[in-house]
């Protein structure tokens, strides 16, 4: 299926789902939970572009998510910017930082890169905690004024629709990357970087594209977060749960295909939403961590690895 067709179908599906649920479902909790699950679809898909497709593990997903969130806060303080502008800027800032961080660290072996991403997240966290303009450790409030736009009954429904579109977009981008020549090059880097370089793949350039796209999409997911929660503080935004989930979900779903992170996010994200009601947040996190350990040990190719024995990349020919 051509990329343009897929993208159109994905976006239309998102609009359809958002539209029908908004009309039929009145319980705002549904939208809140679904927003969170779809947010994980974006995060997991974004992470996997660098992680599963290119083979570079990023432990600092929270940092890019936070960049998106905090750029929205800054824009809100400066200009009371509309949400569309916030999304654009969050994506752009995170993408630029992804590019910059990639440039500094991608010459390193994969293992050192992973550690560097963790270090980067901690350094960013420290800066944010000490930055009073965005509230520092006390946090910041962002409140949506007036009536929900476009006739939605509540802001949560509106944000859910936006997140649905973002999820569709992220998935379309991931699929495009995977099935393009770029994706073939990334897979070569993942399998054997030296051999890839010696086969003509411009490894540094492709890795930079990967970190930029991956980081940008994670920032996109974070851009609407302040509007969703109304109150944002550093420990929450930089929570390690983002790092663990964005690794566990693609791992469980399957890292070699765009569909894997989606499956993992829907399953694991959905599970967490259900458990959250009955069980403490800490048990929730324990479960995610335990699943990560179990899957990486016995099923590293995830659910898709079980069903697609040949482990093929979907290629349109």
């Amino acid at each position: 299926m051509k990329t343009s067709s897929f993208t159109a179908i994905a976006l239309c599906t998102a609009l359809l789902v958002a539209g029908t649920t908004s009309a039929l479902v009145t319980n705002d909790y549904f939208f809140s939970a679904s927003y969170t699950v779809l947010q994980f679809v974006v995060l997991a898909t974004a992470w996997n572009i660098l992680g599963g497709f290119t083979g570079y593990v990023n432990f600092g997903s929270a940092a890019f998510f936070a960049l998106g969130a905090y750029s929205s806060i800054v824009l809100d303080r400066l200009l009371e910017a509309p949400i569309g502008l916030s999304i654009l800027s969050g994506t752009a800032v995170a993408a630029l930082v992804g590019l910059g961080m990639g440039y500094l660290t991608l010459r390193l072996r994969g293992v050192f890169f992973a550690i560097a991403t963790l270090a980067f997240a901690e350094v960013l966290f420290t800066f944010v905690v000490n930055w009073d303009y965005v509230g520092g450790a006390r946090g910041a409030y962002v409140v949506l004024q007036g009536r929900p736009p476009l006739g939605f009954r509540s802001f949560v429904q509106f944000l859910f629709a936006i997140m649905a579109l973002m999820a569709a977009g992220a998935v379309a981008i991931a699929r495009f990357v995977q099935t393009s020549t770029l994706g073939l090059g990334l897979a070569a880097i993942r399998d054997d970087e030296v051999a890839a370089e010696c086969s003509g793949v411009p490894t540094l350039r492709l890795k930079l594209v990967s970190t930029t796209v991956s980081g940008g999409l994670m920032g996109m997911a974070g851009a609407t977060f302040p509007y969703f929660l109304s109150y944002v503080e550093p420990h929450g935004v930089f929570s390690l749960s983002y790092a663990v989930n964005s690794i566990a979900m693609p791992l469980i779903g399957g890292m070699y295909d765009w569909a894997g992170p989606v499956i993992g996010a829907l399953l694991l994200g959905g599970l967490q939403q259900v458990l959250q009601v009955n069980v403490s947040a800490d048990w929730n996190l324990f479960l995610v961590g335990a699943l990560l350990v179990v899957f990486v040990t016995i099923a590293p190719h995830g659910i898709m690895g079980w069903t697609f024995r040949r482990g093929r990349r979907g290629r349109p020919t």
Partner: protein
């Protein structure tokens, strides 16, 4: 073009205190078949790495009129230098066919990312696989191949990059006599396409069959370079192999 294809002058490489290469000169002309021999640890693989760009050393290397010093490996292969690895390094998660599409798209094309891959390279990939005898296994995952087939895949990948110079690093190690013949046949065929080959080998019979010219490396220095019969009768070469 006039002048040799590859001109390496004074190539030097140190690893800490250990001198792997100590001022090696080597020239290769278009379509030439050069054998590179020497005892273990003499620096043959290091020389390959210096030419391919995976290791940075001293001295100068010119290829097809271009100075290689500022170029990373992926640019060198696009210029026409291909190398196969001593221990095959296939792209394990991909099929045999996809393994070939990578050099076809990235090494042999002008703008790989700007082109919509309509699968045209698939035909050429299959044709190359046919030449090396792997066509039947095109759809298999590369990590499932036998040793010999992996060696063939290494060479096929090198061929797919449309090289002017192919450096085969111990492509025959550990193979049976008939397998050696199969691989040698592929390499001998390269001259017909105007591709120069540097064959790095320990197997003397194969080196003799293959080479128009032989260069000998010992402890990082080149001690002989000339027609096969002359070189192998050189007392210095005999000493290097037997006297140490």
């Amino acid at each position: 073009m006039s002048g040799p294809l590859l001109v390496a002058k004074g190539v030097t490489k140190r690893f800490g205190g250990f001198v792997a290469l100590d001022g090696v000169d080597l020239s290769v002309g278009a379509g030439e078949r050069v054998g590179l021999i020497g005892p273990n640890g003499s620096g043959k693989s290091t020389l390959v790495n210096c030419i391919a760009g995976t290791v940075r050393g001293g001295g100068s290397i010119e290829f097809d009129g271009h100075d290689l010093a500022p170029l990373p490996p992926h640019r060198r292969i696009r210029l026409g230098i291909a190398r196969s690895f001593q221990i095959p390094r296939p792209f394990a998660s991909m099929t045999v066919l996809d393994n070939l599409r990578i050099p076809l798209l990235y090494a042999a094309r002008a703008h790989p990312l700007l082109q919509r891959s309509r699968g045209r390279e698939t035909e050429e990939a299959l044709s190359i696989l046919r030449q090396v005898g792997l066509e039947a296994k095109a759809g298999r995952l590369s990590r499932e191949l036998t040793q010999v087939d992996m060696r063939k895949l290494e060479l096929a990948r090198a061929i797919a990059s449309h090289p002017k110079l192919l450096v085969a690093d111990e492509a025959l190690a550990g193979l049976s006599a008939s397998e050696v013949d199969e691989i040698l046949a592929i390499l001998l065929e390269m001259k017909g396409r105007g591709v120069a080959v540097i064959l790095i080998e320990h197997m003397m019979r194969a080196v003799l069959r293959f080479s128009e010219r032989i260069a000998v490396l010992v402890v990082g220095r080149k001690i002989a370079d000339g027609p096969a019969e002359t070189v192998l009768r050189d007392p210095a070469v005999e000493r290097a192999y037997l006297g140490q």
